[in-house]
Amino acid sequence: MSTVQNEFFKKPKKGAVLHAEGGIHKAILDFLRKSLEKKCFDALFIPVKVHDTDSYVWVLLKDKSLLNEANPLPPVISVQGGRALSTLTKHGEMNLQIAAIMRPCEIRAVIELFKLKQVSLNNITLISIDCPGAMPLSDYISNPKEMAKRFNNLFETWEENESLRPICIICHRFSLSSLLPSISRQSASVELEGIDSPASDIHIGLVGGNGEKIFLMPVSSKGEEILEKLEIATEDSLEDWEIKEKELRDKKENKRKKILQELKAKIEGPKKFVAVFDQCINCHNCMRVCPICYCRQCYFDSKTLRLSPEVYLTRAKERKSLRFPLDTLLFHLGRMSHMVLSCVSCGVCEDACPMNIPIAQVFCIVADQVQKSFGYVPGRDRREPPPLRFFQEDEFQEVEMQYKKTISREETQNA
């Protein structure tokens, strides 16, 4: 089994540094508007504010006037971008060129869904953007103006802010580094020949710009073509961005290690782990908002798990009481085993939980470990198949060790 290396594949060396007078959001929207006008794209997929409210929804737009209310990086993630793009392209592509601009975790979810055949990427250009994090949805709903203000202040210094969602505070995948394939990729899917590996096509760097400039860079060959068509020269050095990004990434990685270790100590072991779900009401919101959970009918909602009252009463007698709705832990651990390899730690599950269970952080602890043991980072490489889809003859031999030591020795003895 190969190890994950820290070098990245085809990282862009140069790009276009654009000045952002009027702010970052305006600079990005201007770039998008121009790309629509020059017919690089027929439509944009971007969050738009609903008139007279503080709500952001994904809109597929052709009408440029809608860009006046658009925001490429809203203070909250309402619907996960991967889930939204999946509803758009699940049944095939539209014959339009669409540019979708999303946060890195959303882009990675799109790529995972692409691998699961829930998203068609023909005619879609993915534009990723540095993400300072997102505000907790319930906090934003109670006080949108204040939360939006705190969020917008983050773009100058990118310093830590306790108002952000806990899962964002420990996120080290906020930029391009997690959207590029690893050099030591295990195997490439033969069916995907001719597809460019990186997750996004164009990346917009914001870190290191102090809120005054944006770093536009092509990531894939499609991205290069588009910037050429827009006559945007990509000769500027990206050093300011690169240095600050690495600095911030290292800092966040260390923070992540520390916080997840502390959290793990609080939840590990049967007693403590069960206690995490003391308040769980089995609403299954977390599953429904999750981009990776795409099944129309979740196994844990199906009739398979329904039993006769006799069986329930017998169980209740054995344990002295039986909590209803049933199978709280079965649901969470089961869902974990189904999707944790593709978990991008976007945190929409935690936002959706009515009982404030830190579900994103719990899943994050497990996701990090499981993904590491397979050397897999979900969503970084379009051609990297999900680990359970293939195997190598000699791998994970440490699991077989016990068998080899005991039983197979007996067999050779008895032979």
């Binding site: 609903v50 008139h51 929804v57 809109v59 809608l66």
Partner: protein
């Protein structure tokens, strides 16, 4: 977008009575509003309230369901259920402040060509007065 307002009315017509009645109106050269787009269903009882809701949210200015007179349903009971479903949907619209007058239910038998023409013309006039459906322009549905 200053288009002239040409109302679009979706009509769900039952095969045995209303659709035949509509046919008769056509053959008799009676004046039937061009704004009506007919959808033939076997019975007014087949009309799922969600069809009407989807038509409305899809931008239809008016939706009308037409079937056999009570007691004359080709399948005996279909139109009774249709009547209940219609009043239910209309009441939902009314409570939510949506234009419940954009929905109509009318009984037209196979021989009632003139009645078909009259009902659809009156409905079309009403829809014209109500103006275009706000759902037509709304992106955030």
């Amino acid at each position: 977008m200053n288009k002239e307002y040409n109302p679009k009315i979706i009509g769900f017509l039952c095969n045995w009575c209303a659709y035949t009645g509509a046919d008769l109106a056509g053959v008799s050269r009676l004046n039937v509003p061009s704004s009506l787009k007919a959808v033939r269903v076997m019975c007014s009882g087949r009309v799922n309230p969600l069809f009407v809701l989807k038509a409305f949210l899809g931008g239809a200015d008016g939706v009308i369901i037409m079937g056999c007179h009570p007691g004359d349903c080709h399948y005996q009971k279909g139109n009774y259920y249709a009547r209940r479903r219609f009043v239910l949907l209309q009441k939902v619209f009314e409570t939510l402040g949506l234009d419940f007058e954009r929905l109509a239910l009318s009984w037209v038998s196979a021989s009632e060509g003139p009645r078909f023409a009259r009902v659809t013309t009156e409905f079309s006039e009403k829809i014209k007065k109500l103006g275009p459906n706000p759902a037509k322009e709304e992106i955030f549905l």
